[in-house]
């Protein structure tokens, strides 16, 4: 028995670890470090209909235990992703989750329909929550009705299951999650980055050219955990969790909160081998905690009998 294998809508994962969208490009760079087939899945960079340059630089700013980014959805556009990036990824035995974005409902629908037909795309991740896109982007992710409507329209055209990526920049994430579940989403991914800002004390101006950016990294982990803890109890569709994961212990924390798989973002920049390292570390951690299969951990923090978790501390 593979004690790390996880079944999710559209995804038979050999392990529940995947790089998060925007933190792994289309895989080419990290393929120089290790065989991408070891990964559970790969979430590719957000794809829009047309190529986008994104925001002016500087686009990143470090913060204590984290970083702000304002990339602005730079990507080569749908055609190039379909013609070059996805076919290149076919050499690896790994399902692709295509992260899609747009400025209008029509754009989302068009990209979703086309990209969901690619042979190695096993699921879509609807990025309704990127804080760095001015036109529309923010509204899709913060108004439940708008997010639900978009989910419905994308579901209608998609050839594969649709996961919707939730923004933490909302007052009631549970209401948002429920609206998206009702609209027919097959799963949720959370969290995207938190809108933040840094100001340069020498110039008195924001460090990022865009002014604001999205906070990621270890600093956001407690927020991600709390939100997954709340949402997983309110919906019955699975959650792929992310936000500050660096170690196998972090992964279990996300499972205990209610995630069924996880994605690793910023940590790839710090250690390009972080994903294979976590995958290698997990079995020993499960042994240490007396856990047979990783799925047993899902939602343990709120399910009855949580106190029965055996820990040889």
């Amino acid at each position: 028995m593979n004690r790390l294998a996880v079944e999710l809508p559209g995804l038979s994962l050999k392990n529940p670890i995947m790089p998060a969208s925007g933190c792994f490009g289309f895989g080419r760079e990290y393929a120089r470090f290790y065989d991408l087939s070891v990964l559970g899945a790969i979430m590719i960079k957000a794809t829009t209909k047309e190529p986008r340059f994104g925001n002016p630089t500087p686009r990143v700013a470090e913060t204590p235990g984290g970083m702000l980014n304002a990339i602005g959805l730079q990507n080569p556009g749908l055609d190039k992703v379909l013609e070059e990036e996805l076919p290149w990824l076919e050499q690896f035995d790994v399902p692709i989750i295509a992260n899609i974005a747009g400025s209008t409902v029509e754009e989302y629908v068009e990209v979703a329909e086309a990209i969901s037909k690619a042979p190695n795309v096993h699921a879509l991740e609807l990025n309704i929550s990127c804080p760095n896109v001015k036109k529309g982007g923010i509204a899709f992710g913060t108004v439940p009705d708008v997010a639900a409507e978009l989910t419905r329209l994308v579901k209608e055209v998609s050839a594969v299951p649709v996961y919707v990526k939730l923004s933490p920049n909302v007052t009631d994430i549970v209401a948002m999650a429920k609206a998206i579940e009702q609209a027919g989403a097959d799963g949720l991914t959370m969290i995207n980055t938190l809108v933040g800002m840094r100001i340069d004390v020498k110039t008195g101006r924001p460090v990022l050219a865009n002014g604001t950016g999205g906070l990621s990294g270890p600093a956001v982990k407690p927020i991600a955990i709390r939100m997954i803890y709340d949402v997983s109890q309110a919906v019955s569709i699975p959650i792929i969790g992310m936000g500050g994961i660096q170690t196998a212990e972090d992964v279990l924390e996300f499972f205990y909160a209610g995630a069924s798989a996880v994605a690793v973002g910023t940590a790839n920049f710090v250690d390009p081998f972080v994903c294979p390292t976590i995958i290698a570390d997990l079995p020993a951690l499960l042994d240490e905690l007396g856990i047979g299969h990783i799925s047993e951990c899902i939602g343990r923090s709120w399910k009855t009998g949580a106190h029965a978790v055996h820990c040889r501390a």
Binding site: G22, C23, E29, E50, I71
Partner: protein, 257 residues
Amino acid sequence: MIGHERMTVASQRLIAERTYELTLSGRLVQEMRQPGQFVHVKVAASADPLLRRPLSLCHIDHKQGQCTIIYRQEGKGTALLAQKQPGDTVDVLGPLGNGFPLEAAPAGSRALLVGGGIGVPPLYELAKQLTKRGVKVVSVLGFQTKAAVFYEEEFAAFGETHVATDDGSHGTAGRVTDVIEARSLEFDVLYACGPKPMLRALAERFPNRPVYVSLEERMGCGVGACFACVCHVPGSETAYKKVCSDGPVFRAGEVVL
């Protein structure tokens, strides 16, 4: 090949105001070839500071298995690096990026190396490798003030070297471009690293000559995956180059400065 190693500090010394020369030993040195390539350094094992710091290779010594980096203490990361003692280890990812093209300067030709401040270090390995190939090297190094000057003698060992300081406290008063004008320095190829205004001035001054510039940009991954470090390509709204993996060295005109 890009590698990842905990390299060992062989030595570290202060060579100018807030400026350190750090020598590291490790297997990774054997992968280091091109002047102008950089390493991405994690200065502390903790999550703070989180990101790696890009620092140029200043000297590569395959025989000793050592490489040297020269950096200026700026913020949190470089302050922590400055505390490293011989025997300590440093987490290094590299070598990264594409360096200065040596083949642009054939044997017997004249190369002008222009460095500004903390842009000077990568030119040292370049001067060394060009000289070895039989290229005549002339260096112009610009600093803010006398206390910031370093490696003047080291560069002089490879050929004619001029130093300029903004405040005139050492060498010629003024900028590197003033020195090039005043001395009517001739060259077949120009290689430069330093602040963007300096690079822009050089590119504008010699629009039809082979000029290679090394750029700096804030980085996330350092390997081409995150799109943090892009710059525009002339004549296009969407075309881009990544400083970390397409650069950091570009031919002037290849990217918008």
